[in-house]
């Protein structure tokens, strides 16, 4: 089964690396969608079917935490799983993100196995 995945990160490099990493990890990608900040991410989510969101925290315009909060307040978006991929890994911040309903947290730099395991755990099936 192919999964539609949205990556929200202000770095074009990170978006490209996540795509390549998912492909190398054998994840069956359907549509690979990209957004540069939380505001763009919400626009993509309202237009496209998305199975899983990878989201950075530290972004201009609308940061990842604000985007996730907006998703959780939107009936149509609240059930979409979100994985935060960020450099910011303080215990306090991670606890706050889990309270917001974030499914997992991956600290940069990440390995292909980390992304593959998250996709497998959250979306099920052999990825």
């Amino acid at each position: 089964m192919a999964y539609n995945i949205l990556v929200v990160d202000d770095s074009a490099t990170v978006r490209a690396v996540i795509r390549k990493t998912l492909e190398l990890a054998g994840v069956d990608l359907g549509e690979f969608l990209e957004a540069e900040n939380g505001k763009e991410g919400l626009e993509v989510l309202r237009k496209s079917w998305v199975d899983l969101v990878f989201c950075d925290i530290n972004m201009p315009v609308m940061n990842g935490e604000e985007m996730i909060r907006a998703m959780r307040e939107d009936e149509e978006l609240r059930s979409i799983p979100v994985v935060v991929v960020s450099t910011e890994a303080s215990a306090t911040r991670i606890e706050a993100l889990h309270k917001l309903g974030v499914q997992d947290y991956i600290k940069k730099p990440f390995t292909p196995e980390m992304l593959r395991n998250v996709v497998k755990t959250l979306l099920g099936g052999e990825s």
Partner: protein
């Protein structure tokens, strides 16, 4: 303490992200050609400051190719953005450095890194700055400087 932590964290992160061998540089840097870039970001928390990275443009291109896993920039198309890649390298370094300095509990807010070109005289000044830590990434020099404000 800061300089030791910076050396260890940057060496580890740069090797993991770029697949390049990284070692501290304690002698004058090998000759390089302009342009030179500076990437800089602020952090605000229990203590605040600025972390900056200085590198020759040739290194930025090599890092971008390695991170994206391409032999030719054309392969990466519009995603080939050497300054953006250096911003991400600094961002990940900063995010991993702060817990080493402050522990895992404190929350820091990081500003998005910004990149800009610097003059050759500015590059020469940073290579002689005792507060900057130099590294060799394979044959290219790179410098990091942490300023607490």
């Amino acid at each position: 303490m800061s300089k030791n932590a910076l050396t260890q964290v940057f060496s580890r992160i740069a090797e993991q992200m770029t697949f390049m061998f990284v070692e501290p540089l304690d002698s004058p840097p090998p000759p390089t050609e302009p342009p030179y870039m500076c990437v800089s970001m602020q952090f605000i928390g229990p203590f605040s400051g600025v972390l900056s990275l200085y590198a020759p443009g040739d290194l930025c291109r090599q890092v971008a190719m390695n991170v994206l896993g391409v032999d030719d920039p054309m392969e990466a198309g519009s995603h080939f953005k050497p300054c953006d890649t250096m911003c991400e390298l600094l961002n990940v370094t900063c995010g991993n450095l702060l817990p080493e300095l402050a522990g895992r509990e404190p929350v820091f807010n990081l500003t998005p890194p910004r990149a800009f070109e610097i003059e050759t005289t500015d590059w020469e000044a940073i290579t002689q700055d005792p507060d900057a830590q130099g590294f060799l990434m394979e044959d290219f020099p790179v410098y990091l400087k942490l300023i607490r404000t």
